[in-house]
Amino acid sequence: MEAFFSNIDKVVDGFSWTVRLTLLSALFSFILGVILTAMRVSPVPLLRGISTAYVEGIRNTPLTLVLLFCGLGLNSALGLHLSDQVMWDVFWWAVIGLSAYTSCFVSESLRAGINTIPVGQVEAARSLGLTFTQNLRLIVIPQALRTVVGPLGSVLIALTKNTTVASVAGLGVQEASRQMKLMFDQGIAPVLPTFFGFAVGFLILTLPMGYLFGWLSKRVAVVR
């Protein structure tokens, strides 16, 4: 275990990138997820079609492919750069890939939440004169969100773990799993304890998430 702790600065640095990837991707996935859901339930067939095609397309593509497309395809082959510094360039591409992928799961969870809202409430809001967007913003989404806090927690945990795919797919963000691999490659740390140390690191991140979202979902539940 000593070797693991003597490299603790690398470990901490790795997890700091993991956290940054997770938080930014979570934010963008959420925003994109809400937009995709709004399109999916809108009365405009074209918007519904685009949203459905996007969600079904990306959701059924392996994350590795999505990230390879961002890294090898858009970033390297097409030479699209998001920053002059390589470190941040690959970071932002990883955020984009992870968000593009995770937003589909956010959207599917939200849609399941929307389906639990009695249609009568939507009709009542319509008959008060609320427009479609007001209805969505004031009645549907707030209630849908409350019913899917738990599932969204699972999506966030999956996202945290999925950040490790970025480096495997060639986007060399110095997140935790890549730091671990570098430590192995350089032979500066014994394999088993290091493995164990990083696994515990992920547990420290994700376990509280699970509890937080579990607590939150009880807290905000709508009584019917």
């Binding site: 009695p118 009568g120 409430q121 009709e123 009542a124 809001a125 319509r126 008959s127 008060l128 004169g129 609320l130 427009t131 007001q134 004031l138 009645i139 707030p142 209630q143 409350r146 709508v222 009584v223 019917r224």
Partner: protein, 247 residues
């Protein structure tokens, strides 16, 4: 001079697939009039109500509210809907909002009133439906009768020209029916224009100016409540009344 009616349906037809649910409906409702719609299950009463604020579209015919035809979509429709209040069988209160928030949402978001103004008026209305002391509770904490009275206050808060009631007491336990009917009777006395789908004959006799009897998507008979209940003319109405009177 005869005043122009508030709600007019002319030659309205509506299908659900092959099912012809509204057949050439002609109906006008005068300002301040209370019309009770009665008829067997599946005769199209709910559909009739729902076409009046365009929760359902119609296939042909014209519906006008206060002289202007129902707009097809968009903001015009939203504005018009706020002129037509609706009270549903299953209350449909917003579960994540308090009683007072349920009543102020429309005025704040649609009529663009200030929160303070909407709340003052909201409390007044809750007072009127005798539920002001529950203003800060959530719908699930109220009984059915209380929820329905809140739903009536929510509709009133928009200052609608007409309120549609679709079987407002059918989902209630028997002991709560009267408290809702009392509120509705008060409204009728105060001159609110109302279209009420209900089988509550007591209410019809007490508060309605006219009874409209529907069967198979058609208006079969229209009359004053007294005439209709004591002297139905059509066979369908006689048959229907004998059934609801004997059980």
């Amino acid at each position: 001079m005869k005043a122009t009616p508030l709600v007019v349906l002319e030659n309205v037809d509506k299908h659900f697939g092959d099912l012809h649910v509204l057949r050439d409906i002609n109906l006008s409702v005068q300002r301040g009039e209370v019309v009770v719609v009665i008829g067997p299950s599946g005769s199209g009463k709910s559909t009739l109500c729902r076409t009046i604020n365009r929760l359902e579209t119609i296939d042909s015919g014209v519906i006008t509210i206060d002289g202007s035809p129902l707009p097809a979509e968009g903001r015009g429709l939203a504005r018009l809907r706020s002129d037509v209040g609706m009270v549903f069988q299953s209350f449909n209160l917003f579960a994540h909002k308090t009683v007072l928030q349920n009543v102020t949402l429309g005025p704040i978001k649609v009529l663009k009133k200030s929160k303070a103004e909407a709340e003052a008026r909201g409390m007044e209305l809750l007072e009127r439906v005798r539920i002001a002391n529950q203003a800060h509770k959530y719908p699930a904490q109220l009984s059915g009768g209380q929820q329905q009275r809140v739903a009536i206050a929510r509709a009133l808060a928009m200052n609608p020209k007409v309120i549609l009631f679709d079987e407002p007491t059918s989902a209630l336990d028997p002991e709560m029916v009267q408290e809702v009917l009392d509120v509705m009777t008060d409204l009728a006395k105060e001159g609110m224009t109302m279209v009420v789908v209900t089988h509550e004959m007591g209410f019809a006799r007490r508060a309605a100016n006219r009874v409209v009897f529907m069967a198979d998507g058609q208006i079969v008979e229209e009359n004053t409540p007294d005439e209709f209940f004591t002297n139905p003319r059509s066979e369908r109405a006689k048959d229907f009344l004998s059934k609801i009177l004997t059980h």
